[in-house]
Symmetry: C2
Subunit: 221 residues, 2 copies
DNA sequence: CGAATAGTGTCTGTGAGACAGTATTCT
DNA sequence: AGAATACTGTCTCACAGACACTATTCG
């Protein structure tokens, strides 16, 4: 029998991304217990083996219990581990990232959760700085060849909103007509019959994702 | 104090990729203990917290102890977890994948390790089928926009060898002159001064990676 | 010399950026 | 009408595939 697998702490940490004032932001929750009690950190918690089907279930439960969030886009990022990341001892944290449209953030208000711009999420406890950095990196990378940025938008959106979201996530500016062409060709979104957004001078057609899950493209947007 | 984190099994599993007879293959090791004793499975083992700095160290140790391998390309894939993947109970396995040139496989011979084509690695115990599938997926995906396939080649290689490796990993055929142009532009490899491979009719210039680590490209190869 | 493979030069089609031009709504 | 934003059409340039052509070695 192997000897050394006792006393390993297994947790899940979620980097919850959203948009705030037009910039990519992450949710930080003030910790209510030691270690680092009172300090803002990623939303996370212990894996409960008797309750959680797997770590994805842990992430969903943590989002529900600690942030009041139900359906969100959630994907595993990577696992961070080692002796020094948690003062309680050797630990492994399976990190996830979630994408939540700004409109769906209402449940967070009651829960001591701050939304801070992604670049300002520094000096966090544990190795949460590294987790956030990795999440941003993944978001930028995968954003350019997948429907990922669309999950930061409400269910229906205009092509201008979609382009602007890609621009914010990828940190570049995109040519409008080329963008429309590519969206047309990739057809991972479809127009909602007869639905128009009326917030701008000329009403714009509303689109929605054709599939509820992430779509990856052959080429970059 | 939280209640449910005891008795969680934490392991590491490594999908060791190599090339055999021109096709992508994985290393499987006959298990020497329960569960699934005697069945071929991925190379893996328990995390030893008092010995392993982190799970990457576990992977390196397991490769050293069980496969006799030292320096190999190693990257985290993702973590697989849940109640049903291991008959011993709720477990989490941090999966890694390794790339080893065919020439470096000598140490495996003495160790009950089989090399089987990636598509034939089916019916493995635990959820190792899923881990292999995810590894192949990652390899194919990342191979097209990074120097990843080069890590399956010996230290120096010809451009024809490099192209063929990309073709095998990505499962497509590439235009030779276009490939050479892109390699030139991306310059993640450099010619070795005065070194030529003499295995073909006309000797070919030998190249090596400019950086020992993975390089990601802006565009696809 | 011919076979075989390495490596180069050039043509062409496709697709992306640029940007002008048209459409629709509001004040 | 004019502003503002949505959307479309077209020009051009760059790049990738195709492929012919040259280079070098061996038998």
């Amino acid at each position: 029998m192997p000897s050394g697998e006792e006393n390993v702490i297994l947790t899940v940490d979620v980097t919850l991304f959203t948009l705030q004032r037009g910039a990519l932001a992450v949710a930080l929750q003030r910790r209510d217990r030691a270690p680092f009690s009172g300090r803002p950190a990623l939303v996370g918690g212990y894996v409960h083996p008797e309750e959680d089907r797997d770590t994805m279930a842990t992430a969903l439960r943590v989002l529900r219990e600690k942030a009041g969030l139900g359906k969100v886009f959630l994907e595993q990022l990577m696992t961070f581990s080692g002796l020094n990341r948690d003062p309680r001892g050797w630990s492994a944290s399976v990190a996830y990232y979630a994408l939540v449209p700004e409109q769906d953030l209402a449940p967070l208000a009651a829960r001591e959760i701050l939304i801070v711009p992604a670049e300002e999420a520094r000096g966090l406890p544990f190795d949460h700085d590294a987790i956030v950095a990795k999440g941003v990196e993944r978001l930028r990378g995968k954003g350019s060849y997948s429907s990922l940025p669309a999950f930061l938008l409400p269910e229906t959106f205009t092509l201008t909103q979609l382009r602007e979201m890609y621009e914010k996530v990828m940190g570049v500016s995109l040519n409008d007509s080329a963008f429309r062409r590519k969206i047309e060709e990739l057809h991972f979104v479809e127009p909602v019959e007869g639905a128009y957004s009326k917030v701008t001078a000329r009403p714009a057609r509303l689109y929605r994702l054709r599939r509820p899950a992430l779509t990856e493209f052959d080429r970059r947007l």
